[in-house]
């Protein structure tokens, strides 16, 4: 087996990306985030309660307004806590990820049912090209969501992965998921 450094070939952007800390929202963005937070809470409130009486609606509106006010005051609303910039690009990625989940599920189920249990567990590292924490979390979670690969440790340069088979390792190393997640993240 070649040394680890030969397998992992981090691109230069990885190293440049370490120091990139997402800046807090500007004052315009702050209100946009607050409005979006309030709307999201209103939709979820209604979906979960289904009430239309004026009194209950009023109480719901009061709660939402006070929570938004509190969150603004405590400075809790930022890109990471409420990432509206991901909202529009994420659904396409989820469709792709859903199909990947189905495919890898069928593979793992086949392995489980095979009398000889043809597994060859392995650990390896894959480079990450995302620049923000939320991007890396999205990538690590996507890896874990597809059965057959689990992310063990995450840092700025790479993710340590445990895979059930050679096929699982190859599938990750072609880097397609990494590219797509970076695309969803969309930060320069």
């Amino acid at each position: 087996m070649p040394p680890l450094s030969a397998i992992v070939k981090p691109t230069t952007t990885n190293h440049q990306g370490i120091l990139t800390i997402s800046t807090g929202p500007t004052s315009d963005n702050r209100w946009l985030h607050a409005i979006s937070l309030a709307l999201t809470m209103a939709v979820i409130w209604f979906l979960l309660s289904g009430h239309t009486e004026p009194l209950i609606l009023g109480l719901g509106a009061a709660s939402i307004l006070s929570i938004t006010w509190l969150a603004l005051r405590m400075d809790l609303i930022d890109r990471e806590g409420h990432p509206i910039h991901l909202t529009f690009r994420a659904p396409m990625f989820w469709v792709w990820l859903g199909w990947e989940i189905v495919k890898s599920n069928l593979q793992v189920m086949k392995i489980i049912l095979y009398p000889k249990l043809p597994i060859s567990p392995r650990m390896f590292r894959v480079p990450v090209s995302q620049k923000t924490d939320i991007g890396r979390v999205l990538y690590a979670n996507s890896i874990t969501l597809t059965p057959g690969t689990i992310s063990l440790r995450v840092n700025e340069h790479d993710i340590e992965v445990h895979a059930l088979t050679q096929a699982g390792e190859d599938g990750l190393k072609d880097g397609k998921m990494d590219r797509l997640v970076t695309n969803v993240e969309g930060e320069q």
């Binding site: 979960l48 049912l113 249990l117 060859s120 690590a140 969501l145 690969t149 689990i150 063990l152």
Partner: protein
């Protein structure tokens, strides 16, 4: 027709969970077992919830099921990752293939 489709989804979801449980027993160590558990966590849960959505029809119940699915898919991998990391930190050595060490 919708009822039939719903049952197909529910039963295939149950089948996934069953296979996942068999895998949980057959796999040799903690990390490989987590892969098997992942089958029930993802496809099993998705299929069962999709079957329940068809049973619910276009009601508020449907929205709640969508929310449940989202929460499952967001929290599942996080819990899985935490478990794997805790096992590693606790000194659990993953069983690796001989050709790969």
């Amino acid at each position: 027709m919708i009822n039939f489709l719903s049952w197909v989804l529910l039963l295939s979801g149950c089948f996934c969970v069953l296979i996942s449980a068999i895998g949980l027993i057959r796999m040799p160590d903690l990390f490989t077992r987590m892969h098997a558990a992942g089958v029930g966590d993802t496809l099993g849960a998705i299929l069962v919830i999709a079957g329940l959505m068809l049973q619910a029809g276009p009601t508020l119940l449907l929205a709640k099921l969508v929310l449940i699915m989202f929460f499952l898919l967001f929290t599942g991998p996080t819990a899985c990752h935490a478990l794997a990391k805790a096992a590693l930190a606790g000194g659990e050595k993953p069983l690796l293939d001989d050709n790969n060490q």
